[in-house]
């Protein structure tokens, strides 16, 4: 079997990928810490303890040795007694409920600083990468589905390959398949912009400059809830993405994203 080395990812793609991977890692981690301190999701503008939440994790009595944790989703309640949550001393003479423990000696105050530092990296990187994709025609060449791909037969074939965890071979391995294309397009042009804009809708200053953001999301708390849900979808994407790297050839794919070089095994002539 013959092997051919493609220069798959030009350096801007590789730089953007790893820069964004690092930023998103810190964003997800600090974002979860921010959720942790108030694990409740609301709809509308105001939302706080005592108001109805459509999702919440809480414990009625923080002085009990074993917390009676309640996981609420809409009208459903799940008893998580002893399995979820902890009570910490706030330093103001009362206790606070957390879902999971932050790192030892973590400064909660710094959490937002880290979140915004990495948000800037994500925002500026996504903007530059978006321009790069559009300007050079790369979007059309690598990510935009070809007309021939948009048939039920082709979609069925892709799904079948994916479900059986089959690697693409030969010419097919040199291009992104339809499911990859659609996923990357949704993440780059849907999920990431949604995360950025819903995040900015939580900012006092940004909403002062652009008050319509409140109307766009249905309120400040709605924006926070959408931000959180979108972040969880991004986490799902990352888990599947990493899993697929292992399925499709860890060494080859990691090399292609680090050095750009991607090996394609040529099919034998029939």
């Amino acid at each position: 079997m013959e092997r051919q080395i493609d220069l798959r990812h030009p350096w801007p793609v590789r730089l953007w990928h790893w820069m964004t991977a690092l930023a998103v890692g810190v964003l997800l981690f600090t974002g979860l810490l921010l959720f942790d301190i108030h694990p409740r999701l609301y709809w509308g503008d105001d939302g706080h303890e005592g108001m109805p939440a459509f999702f919440s994790i809480s414990a009625p009595d923080l002085n009990r040795p074993v917390l009676q944790t309640d996981l609420q989703v809409g009208r459903h309640h799940f008893d998580m007694t002893g399995r979820l949550g902890l009570a910490i001393d706030t330093g103001f003479g009362d206790k606070d409920f957390l879902v999971f423990p932050p790192p030892a000696d973590w400064d909660f105050g710094a959490t937002r600083g880290w979140h915004f530092l990495c948000a800037w990296i994500l925002v500026l990187g996504a903007f530059a990468y978006g321009l790069y994709l559009l300007a050079g025609g790369r979007l059309r060449r690598t990510l935009w589905p070809a007309r021939t791909e948009l048939t039920f037969a082709s979609l069925g074939r892709e799904l079948s390959l994916h479900l059986r965890l089959r690697r693409a071979r030969g010419e097919a391995a040199r291009r992104y398949n339809l499911l990859q294309k659609v996923t990357y397009l949704v993440v780059i042009f849907g999920l990431i912009p949604l995360l950025i804009v819903s995040g900015l809708t939580m900012s006092n200053s940004v909403t002062t400059a652009f008050p319509d953001l409140y109307a766009l999301f249905g309120g400040r708390q709605s924006a926070r809830s959408i931000h959180f849900i979108a972040a969880m979808l991004l986490l799902v994407f990352i888990v599947v993405h990493v899993f697929q790297v292992f399925v499709a050839g860890f060494f080859n794919l990691m090399r292609s994203m680090i050095t750009g070089r991607f090996a394609v095994e040529r099919e034998e002539a029939p």
Partner: protein, 255 residues
């Protein structure tokens, strides 16, 4: 306002925790270049938002029907000092707001004198960095008015608010600061009224700061003294506020 998940609190929480998340990386956050990067990002945010807010727009104001039935308490609910209790017994009759530092005319204004100044009433959304938010109506004198009376000197850059409440964690009095632009914003108030009534003790009586362009912890409660300075270096540990100094919170909290 912020909640402490550190020091005392977390030593307890952390010990109870079965295996701390990324324990190995936790200390990266205080080594070079982390603090410099965080400060740079905060300064970048401030610059970007100054661009957006160039026309000095007002933060959204809501209507009376939007006011939250319950407004959560945060930070101090009742200052512990005896001197505060004496002021409270006297209904703050003996209390004066001091304005000093880089001003032409240092001031001492009683609550009655503050109430006699032109006031502003606004219904706004308060956002805590913990994630919750609530709506209240605030009445007070625009900070710009008080600074105008005192006359800000040319060298002045920041306005520092010294408060009457001590934080249990280190016993220091609460303090916060704004730059002159946010201090001069028309919606930045020294509020003495909340929801049509005198400001309750748990929300910062006799006087609290309302700064609608920034997040919860900037809205200092129990304001006692306003100091105009050219640098934040000599205030606390130099980062401009109690949470900023003690908990590494960001100073420009417009995001």
């Amino acid at each position: 306002m912020s909640r402490l998940i550190n020091r005392r609190g977390l030593i307890v929480g952390g010990a109870a925790a079965a295996g701390t998340l990324i324990a190995g990386c936790a200390r990266v956050d205080r080594q070079w270049p982390a603090p410099a990067l965080l400060d740079a990002a905060d300064a970048f945010t401030r610059g970007a938002q100054r661009l957006l807010l160039g026309q000095r727009p007002l933060a959204r104001e809501l209507s009376l029907t939007d006011v939250s039935a319950h407004f959560p308490l945060s930070g101090t609910f009742m200052p512990a000092a005896d001197s505060y209790k004496r002021l409270l017994e006297d209904d703050f009759a003996g209390w004066h707001l001091r304005v000093h530092g880089l001003v032409e005319r240092p001031l001492e204004l009683s609550l009655a004198e503050l109430r006699a100044l032109p006031s502003r009433t606004q219904i706004t959304l308060h956002q805590c960095d913990e994630g919750w938010s609530a709506v209240a109506q605030w009445t007070g004198v625009p900070l710009a008015r008080v600074l105008g009376l005192a006359g800000v000197q040319k060298r002045a850059r920041y306005v520092v608010f010294h408060c009457l409440d001590q934080l249990e964690l280190d016993g220091n009095y609460y303090y916060e600061s704004l730059d002159l632009l946010d201090a001069a914003h028309p919606q930045t108030l020294l509020a003495y009224g909340m929801n049509g009534k005198p400001l309750p003790v748990q929300h910062g009586a006799p006087l609290r700061l309302r700064v609608e362009l920034q997040i919860g912890y900037k809205n200092a409660k129990y304001v006692d003294r306003i100091e105009v300075v050219d640098s934040l270096g000599s205030i606390g540990k130099g980062r401009g506020g109690w949470w900023e100094d003690f908990d590494h919170a960001i100073w420009y909290a417009g995001l």
